[in-house]
Symmetry: C2
Subunit: 110 residues, 2 copies
Amino acid sequence: MAIHHALSGEMIDIRPLGNTIRATQSGTLYKTQHLEVFRMVLFAGKEIPEHKVVGESTVRCLEDSVEFSIGTTRDILRAGDLRCLAGGVTQSLLAIEDSSVLVTLLLHGA
Amino acid sequence: MAIHHALSGEMIDIRPLGNTIRATQSGTLYKTQHLEVFRMVLFAGKEIPEHKVVGESTVRCLEDSVEFSIGTTRDILRAGDLRCLAGGVTQSLLAIEDSSVLVTLLLHGA
């Protein structure tokens, strides 16, 4: 099923998914020419290997915890933690528990 | 006291302020040429009158609840609710309880 993209001003529920997390897909919640907001659902043990995001971004952990590496530095991002990142940063993620994170991406480039 | 601005990759705690909310100021957490992230602390009854934000923005309620009006439409934004907004939208806020919201602002213009 295609994930609904919100319109400007529409209310979007980003509360923890809890028991429904295993039935929830990652997906874009809002997208325009310059901005994309998406929720990434990561089951325990899931890894997003090293990659670079072109534009600036923010990553907020919505529930549970993910290991978030920038280059060789590993940190744990827990619910309520936010990270803002310059464009072009080499990063990777590893879900410690079933987790969800909210990513806000600037699409104008680095 | 000046509020610390985070660097790219720095961990920022945006958990609910709870008992410390009355001792916390609104402030910018991260700012670059294209992006500003700030936490707005609004004590119960505090109003941000009608205004327009030039660029696109996202507003996430971190704790408690605020009345968030777009034009003449009033909604309640509760903890865990997110709203993404096009630039130039006429909006106003009214805190129902002592509340905090996280605002992400694109600075490139509408």
